[in-house]
Symmetry: C2
Subunit: 196 residues, 2 copies
């Protein structure tokens, strides 16, 4: 019988977590990135298609390649973050379905249907990006997701010659809890949800 | 100093969780749906845009409206699930930005740009759908997400006269752990991730 996680865990994952822009001067180790991946990759996607590809931008050299492609308001916090994840999506994901989903001919569902590939890629790689955010929080890291960057530029710089396209970015690190941003307003249940 | 959740929590959220198709005969209460919403709504989205709208399909009458719109392989498990969530996205989300993101004129970023609205809506409502999956697991529920249904039909049946469009569905309930599906294969870190 599975029960709810305790209040402290719910606060760490959701209730007290923030999109963080200020970081402790503490590196994220290769072991932590490996552990993060092993959590994220277990998250569900349609037909286990797992379209996301994760690039952990960590070295000063790699950060320098990313810097000119960021929206101005995202530069300082991203350069300061210990790691920036490029959450990307591989439009070739159907080619992997015979291995990842050996229960049906799922590859045939996408053959010749570029619109279905694009829609499934952004939907499911976004799910996986959310798994990165919550897995990071589960591991005691904080996350700073952003959409403000030059997608085509990132694709040319990091994914040339492939069918991989950038979706969004997530800064990762240990938060400086002395400068947490305020919580933005949230709607009530009855405004954004209903029970039928 | 935030630390990692314990191993049991990581297993409940990611490592041992499954997409569930068989359910205990146990209702999900209104209080649990309220608690789920209060976790999900705290999850981050771009400019706090919160485009997802959640419809909890629970009554036999509402389930009957959904049934003919499901892919054949999704009918039995969905009719058996205590609740099915329609994760939808409101293309009118920019109109709410002055309240939800009172720090900048974010509404103007989307004015007249239908492509930007559509892309942000599917990206961010998918993030929120993933928050539903993981918040459900955090509360001791199991989730069964699916994309196999008639989106246009669901939009006409449940969202007529609005700019709300269905994204994907998630069955929710307490799992029958005696019939958990096998874990599908997963790739290794070096196949789907890299550190630069």
């Amino acid at each position: 019988m599975t029960t709810a996680l305790n209040q402290q865990a719910l606060e760490q994952l959701f209730l007290n977590a923030r999109t963080v822009n200020s970081w402790q001067d503490k590196a994220v180790t290769a072991e932590t990135l490996q552990q993060l991946f092993q959590l994220v990759i277990q998250g569900p996607t349609a037909a286990n298609s797992l379209p996301a590809r994760l690039t952990f931008v960590q070295s000063p050299e790699a950060k320098a390649r990313l810097k000119p492609l960021l929206a101005p308001g995202n530069v300082d916090k991203t350069m300061a973050a210990p790691v920036t994840v490029i959450v990307a999506m591989d439009y070739d994901f159907p080619e992997h379905l015979p291995r990842l989903f050996p229960y049906a001919d799922a590859r045939s569902w996408f053959a010749g249907n570029d619109a279905a590939i694009a829609e499934s890629a952004i939907r499911n790689s976004s799910l996986q990006g959310a798994y990165v955010i919550l897995a990071a929080r589960a591991l005691g890291l904080a996350a700073g997701p952003m959409s403000g960057f030059n997608n085509a530029g990132v694709d040319a710089e990091f994914f040339a010659g492939t069918k991989v396209k950038s979706n969004f970015l997530i800064n990762l690190g240990y938060p400086d809890n002395t400068v947490l941003p305020a919580r933005a307003p949230r709607p009530d249940f009855d405004e954004y949800a209903r029970v039928l």
